[in-house]
């Protein structure tokens, strides 16, 4: 297959804004789908609100905007006008998919609910990505990724006891939902190739965050007891955790599974006498005395550089890795050096923007990405190339404020 552009020929009319939605269609754009991003002045994404060093607006410079919209086209149209709506309808008739992450009522108010769209194009796949769900008591609540994470149960079992629930420091569902969006759009396209019919997909971001804790839910349903906070530990490993290493706020991950690994670890940390100590002789004994093990192990790790710890333990087949901060991931980690790409926006030629490539590597090769579009960059392509609207008519649309 054509591994650089396997999705060539698929067209998506994308109303998504902010983060989770655009990151989803980004995956499809990076592998060849044509994503037409619908943007309006009155309904501007928060990721279009960058400010240049001189204080002027920089709609094309936000780092997240640039990450979330690679390979897409931008079309700015006033959706409140009849002419603007007509243009959208024409685009629907030549698209395979349309995506939005508005509140459930918004597309209907614009006249773009599924019932209306499928009359224009019965093969259209409409993808709604609301915060909670399309129906149900919470359907109309506006949300952010960190709120969804808290509501999914994740915060209640992450971290250390006696602390406020704090989650994992990122708006996590904003980075899992995109894959659900990409996967389910492609699944619906495969289905359509057999049935010939489109359908409406409802991807509730809360509904797709909760299944990330499927094992924990099953455990809770079976015991009726709230699972304990994780504390960096794991039932299947001991020792298991992030251990302090040499320097300020430096940590190293260590995970020991088997008796053989444990014996090796005792020798490496120069404590061979622990091997024959009954308290540590089986996984379950080690779990019982985990605090003691952590204290002993920390005495060894605290004096050694975190990269060195990982090297030593990996040489003996024990899972270990340095906890990396951003600078280290960016500049030092040998496996992340191909992950980043530098792009420049024609509107801001002096500004170097770093974007993340996709981790889905066909034939182990990582595609270079195409920079995200400038606001309205493809208006002419959409109107003239796709819809055959004449230059004269386009000028009229512009002067009437339909196209920005």
């Amino acid at each position: 297959m054509n591994t650089s552009l396997p999705l060539k020929g698929i067209r998506i009319l994308d109303f998504c804004w902010v983060l989770a939605g655009p990151l989803g269609t980004r995956i499809l754009a990076n592998y060849g789908a044509e994503i037409i991003k619908i943007e309006t002045d009155t309904h501007q994404s928060s990721k279009r609100t960058g400010i240049r060093p001189d204080g002027t607006p920089g709609p094309n410079i936000d780092p997240l905007y640039n990450n979330a919209n690679t390979g897409k086209k931008s079309f700015t149209v006033n959706l409140k006008t009849k002419e603007g709506k007509n243009i959208i309808k024409q685009l629907i008739s030549i698209s395979d998919v349309t995506t939005n992450n508005f509140r459930p009522s918004v597309m209907g108010k614009l006249g773009f609910d599924y019932e209306s769209l499928k009359k224009i194009n019965p093969k259209i796949i409409m993808v709604n990505i609301p915060g909670c769900s399309v129906k149900g008591p919470w359907s109309n609540i506006r949300t952010l990724g960190n709120m969804i994470m808290g509501s999914s149960g994740l915060n209640s079992i992450t971290g250390f006891p006696e602390r406020p629930p704090s989650g994992m420091g990122v708006a996590y569902p904003d980075f899992t939902t995109p894959y659900i969006i990409a996967t389910s759009i492609l699944a619906a396209l495969l289905e359509r190739s057999t049935t010939g019919k489109g359908q409406e997909l409802n991807i509730g971001q809360l509904a797709t965050a909760i299944p990330l804790l499927g094992v924990e839910w099953m455990q809770f349903k079976s015991t009726g007891i709230q699972p304990e906070k994780k504390q960096n530990r794991d039932l299947n490993f001991c020792p298991h955790g992030l251990y302090p290493s040499k320097g300020k706020d430096q940590w190293c991950a260590i995970a020991v599974k088997t008796d053989r690994e444990w014996k090796n670890l005792c020798k490496i940390i120069d404590r061979p006498e622990l091997i024959n100590n009954n308290k540590f002789q089986s996984h379950s004994n080690r779990k019982t005395n985990e605090n003691e093990i952590d204290a002993e192990l920390s005495k060894w790790t605290i004096n050694i550089n975190k990269w060195e710890i990982a090297n030593i333990l990996q040489d003996h087949g024990i899972a270990s890795a340095a906890v990396e901060d951003l600078q280290e991931t960016l500049l030092i980690d040998p496996h992340m050096q191909n992950h980043y790409q530098h792009v420049v926006q024609p509107s801001d030629k002096d500004l170097d923007i770093v974007i993340d490539k996709d981790p889905i590597k066909f034939n182990s090769k990582q595609n270079d990405l195409t920079r995200s579009p400038m606001m309205g960059e493809h208006n002419n392509y959409v109107l003239n190339d796709l819809l055959n609207i004449s230059k004269k008519e386009i000028d009229k649309l512009i002067s009437n404020g339909i196209i920005k």
Binding site: M1, T3, P6, G9, I27, N67, C132, K135, I141, L144, M147, G150, S151, G153, N155, G159, F160, P165, S166, M168, G169, V170, Y172, F175, Y179, T183, S184, A187, A188, L190, A207, I210, V215, W217, N232, D234, G241, L242, D249, W251, A255, K257, Q314, A319, A321, L326, E328, L330, P334, H335, H339, Y340, D352, D356, P359, I360, K361, F362, N363, S364
Partner: protein, 392 residues
Amino acid sequence: MASLSGIKVLDMTNESGAFASRILADLGADVILIEPPQGGRIRNLAPFLDNKKGIERSLYHLHHNANKRSLILDISNDNDLKVLKKLASEIDIIIETFAPGEMAKFGLDYNTLKKINPKLIYVSITPYGQHGDWKNRTGNDLTAAASSGLVFVAGQSKDPPTQAAGDQSYKMASLAATSGVLIALIGRQSNQKNTGTYIDISIQESTSMAALQTSNANHFTRDGNIPQRPGMTRGVFKCADGKWTTLNVSSDRYKIFLNWVKDSGININIDYEMSKINTEGPMLVPKVLNFTKTLASTLNRTDFLEKAWSLDLMALPVNDFHDLKENNHLIETKQFSDVWHEHLNQTLGFSKSIVDVFEKKIRLNRAPLLGEHTNDILEEFKIKLKKNGNKE
């Protein structure tokens, strides 16, 4: 019909990739779990149902292997290996989590198999990918969270970095793998020769995508900042009944929020506070966090949320598992269901499939017993079982 009906998958994953093949199974693919005679590694992972060990009792297995079928094949046995290669010559997808180079020792690597099955889509999920200095390193969910930069920003500033519950590095890798498979299926369909491809998934790199906002590279390249804990955490607030909630006030709702503050008896000058709004939003104004803290502390969570929603503010409860169970929204939207397991003689609690987003609802079938489908599958592939146990 389901989206992937007719697609056959050989599942040779351990715990790092089982979520990927589970999603393919949910989408309707026929996922055949290849297990050694003593059962796959996942079956030995804690926690166990009722805390009793047993190859059918691992919750990790019961959750991740739902909707799949189990086939016992011992790849160290030449005869079984031959059977596996026959299967591999006919199916659509192989998904595996062996260390780089391991599958090649058995002649089960992509380059060998594509010669007998050009349409094959082959996915490998490993800690650091198939190439580079660390490709042979061993790892688990935690080491991936460490190497990806994700864990460094997670947790409270005075605590060590904090690993998320639920093996989220494995989830990130599995989600990327699944999207990769679907892209390849479409790509295969649209090329005339119907050829498949190889997909290389690094758990480290997949996990790094979850840090894309908090630890965005431009924070360092543009501003020289190295993001620290507690990351992007916005406020969580403790209500009068001891339950926790989130609240977020966007700029366009700021005045409405301030009116709520004033009505609750806190003496503020709304015009003055409006003039002090931070360009990045009200929640970055320390005073706003304090206002919210006070509001929350005077109301039970239900009342706090009702009030916030009546003002169209963004708010959701921080749920524990009891909250999830009793939540009306989740009950009405059928988030959870129970699946009967006749051999364990009890029901198992499932969350609905993560890809249950289609017009047709996704069914959940209990995970297979070890070798439950061996005979059926061998028959389907026209392989005979000899009296001595050999298959041919």
